[in-house]
Amino acid sequence: MGSLLEVRDLRVAYRTRGGNISEALEGVSFYLEAGQVLGVLGESGSGKSTLATSVLGLFPANAIVRTGAVLFEGRDLLQAKADELQKIRGKRISLIFQEPSVALHPAMRVGRQVRHVLAAHGTNGREVVKQRVREILQTMFAEEAERIGRSFPHQLSGGQRQRVLIAQAIACGPSLVIADEPTASLDPTTQMEILGVFRGLQKNLGLATIFITHNPALLAGFADCVLVLYAGKVVELGPAEAVLASPKHPYTQALFQSIPPLVSEPGDARKKKLPAIPGDSRPSSLPKAGCRFEPRCPERMQVCKSREPGLVSLNDRHIVSCFKYDANENR
């Protein structure tokens, strides 16, 4: 398998201040081929941000990596030394954060901030760096590049700031970009624009992308594969068309139904109840045994209370973690 990134059975937990341990990721596995887009769907607390930082080995002090491997171009990043990792972060794999206004230095012109990324990763020569910065800003902003480069972050709009972050991320020509809710704080029109930027990057640079979001609609027509996380576990993983058009896991189905449809027949859907998923997925409300989603699941069975479902392959690419599809349970 010529995969660019392969994550195997990743388990990460956090030590809380009270001395307890909360599991963030429990056995996540997937792989990503060069140039592909993987959409990661999950609500807050599902472990999607932990997944993003784990790939880069960016663990806070209270994190415990229990098991797992993150193989990037054949090397296990979880075993890599700090200085080796430093050469990969930002250069081969870069991360784009959610809040562009926080991720940029407020008192430094953005051109210089892009320059710093290049300098940190060993691009030498003042003119070479300058030229490269100009090129990158040009691809992101076209004729406005000059003016934007001289601006401070507060002089830019949210969408422009997000483009600056993307410029930083692609400056060193990485082969993988991880974007953690890159459009969450943006307007719908700006959100579409930024999504277009990501589409362009993938098409023109052949950049592999892990696109993390809680909004499934953003992934339609963009992601190649979709991974659905629930409470630290993969509940569904498969080709985007399959997962988005006919989701199999009850959670994915319920999640998609809870989004109001845009086109309503006169007076029909409006003011009616949305089919919301009852309850929440906070650690305290998760069951101690059995399937994580069981208390909220509309299709729960007896077996779900006592045992955890394994991953069931529906076909060679689409897997789902639910007893509903387990032939051994459904006789």
Binding site: G45, T189, M192, P260, P261, L262, K271, I277, D280
Partner: protein, 259 residues
Amino acid sequence: MKSYTRRKLAGHPEEVRALDGVSFSIFRGTTLAIVGESGSGKSTLAFCLACLETPTTGNIWFEEKDIVKLAEKEKRAIRCQIQLIFQDPANSLNPRWKVLKILNEPLAVQGNLSHAEMTSRAHALLNQVGLPIEIEEKMPAELSGGQRQRVAIARALMLEPKLLILDEALSALDCSVQAQIANLLVELQESLGMTYLFISHDLAMAAHLADEIAVMSHGRIVEQGSPEEILKEPQSTVTLELLAAVPRMSFSHLQAPES
């Protein structure tokens, strides 16, 4: 019938026209959604209605009273009847207070009720917004995003307001939680006859909740109509842009999930 009308607001000192000739009315027990991009003046409008900002010119009638011209003391009384709910419940609840204290605070400021009376009202409201009573002992950080927004709604309802202004109240929540809170808002409207001003950039959710939608751009209302009209026959380019920006996936097949 009319709750209030607003006419011609213009100009801030620096001549940034955050609101430029905005007029509309909301009827009792209905929902008006204000949709627009950031910077279109949605939040300024919310602040003006909540008596937190005084419009440069124009009038706002709330139950036959022009609240722009009221004295500060009278405004205070009006503010009880118009409550705001903000986008991020994590930032709008005091992180060091227990839920009960957060809920009691608006009444404590008014100072008309005993602690026991306030607490019993708080319990009633927790029940109404679908939270267990035990939650009164928790800190906001111990709650999920959806629970926090429910607490924020309960707090807003403590003073028995007539109008609730929801300023992007769903945008910071997960999709599944958005649906829960949207359902709660519909329930409360049915049981209490609440009036909502729902400010959002999510056209789909606005169409779901509102009786009428007003589309704002650069401080003006560029289009106004029922959700059907706005969705089916959008007239202005701003509306078209917003419609085009709603991420789409076909959900029709989901009506009857195959088993």
